[in-house]
């Protein structure tokens, strides 16, 4: 008898809670993926495609869905650490297939070599190259993310990635690397 009552009670309770869960699943359905947005905010937005995804947002989506977090070469270990913090996982080392050299660079067009083919313009993910067919192209250095996607398409190899020069304004107090004059 007690067993039957127990079964009945548990059955009814679960009926009620099942209904509640069903209701909640419809009512509070989360649209979109806020996690992906947060990851996207961490990524450096170079849109370089080195992660194997066409742009930072797609990679963010992929990470939110379980892709490895160590594929953002421009972001480097810093970005990995931040994503790991966000996702609550252990930070892992940069994927070996990705270059880890993430010194900030900016593209530079050697103008005398440029033939005006517009290939780099098509490659640039952030429209940081101006120029038109048969005209020499120029990089808007401020907009350039240093993704180096324009380097490969150039038929005349006139695009170089140049490290951003150090000035007193962006100097990072690296006392160890001051050029000290050795007199003798």
């Amino acid at each position: 008898m007690t067993v039957l009552i127990a079964i009945l009670v548990v059955g009814l309770i679960s009926l009620a809670f099942g209904a509640l869960l069903g209701f909640a699943s419809v009512k509070f359905k989360v649209e979109g993926d806020p996690l992906a947005e947060q990851i996207d905010a961490i990524l450096p937005q170079t849109q370089c495609g080195q992660c194997g995804y066409p742009g930072c947002k797609p990679y963010a989506d992929a990470v939110a869905n379980g892709e490895a977090i160590n594929k953002c070469a421009p972001g480097g270990d810093d970005t990995i650490k931040k994503i790991a913090d966000l996702m609550g996982v252990e930070p892992i080392a940069m994927d070996e297939a990705h270059e880890t050299d993430n010194t900030p660079k900016v593209a530079f067009i050697i103008e005398e070599d440029c033939i005006g083919c517009t290939k780099c313009i098509q490659a640039c993910p952030v429209d940081a190259i101006i120029g038109t067919t048969k005209q020499m192209h120029t990089i808007i250095a401020d907009e350039c993310t240093g993704c180096d996607l324009c380097v490969a398409p150039c038929p005349v190899d006139c695009i170089e990635m140049r490290p951003i020069p150090q000035t007193t304004r962006n100097w990072q107090w690296d006392l160890a690397n001051i050029p000290v004059t050795q007199i003798d």
Binding site: G49, P54, A97, H98, P125, L149
Partner: protein
Amino acid sequence: MNIPQEYKDLTWQGLWKNNPGLVQLLGLCPLLAVTSTVVNALGLGLATLFVLVCSNATVSVVQKWVPKEVRIPIFVLIIAAFVTCVQLLMNAFAFSLYESLGIFLPLIVTNCAIIGRAEAYASKNPLKQASYDGFIMGVGFLLVLLALGAIREVLGQGTLFDGADLLLGSWAASLRIEVFALDNQFLLAILPPGAFIAMGFLIALKNKIDASIAEKQPKKAEQSIERVRVNFDS
């Protein structure tokens, strides 16, 4: 012997790489509470192992009919049912064991290791693999419990398998090993703080071993990656 790779992987995962005790850190509550002696650890470990196998198998069987929204309550129901059955059966047929493990048994219901496996593995895999996963995870958990129990028992009381007769019958009384005679018990080892400290050392040891294994492994050959163009050629 031709064991499919899948089972090898599962074994490796359960026993070492993804050990529920040392890596997933699931079910710490019973793990730390009952491991004051090897025998206690063995008892709880076996009970957990049994429940884990049963619940994994059941969850795997019913996975098709379980909708996403109510999966957790259903898993909990299944596990709770198994635990209660185990408790009742133990009470009926292994009373002395029930006496010494009784209060820990209900803890298994809330042992996250079990619901964790149900959710992470059993609910997505076929019966055979799920059962095996439950078994091997249970064994992994049991081993950690035993290790912890052994450390604490030796440090705390200087013995091993003390009280084995309660669990295994009177013949087991002869299993008791007096490692060294202590005038005074080292209470810290027996008390829960000792469990935490010992657990910490176990985890550290595992990480150390992993690190040295990783060091020994030759570096993977550098592979180049295909860059994806952010182009929309079409």
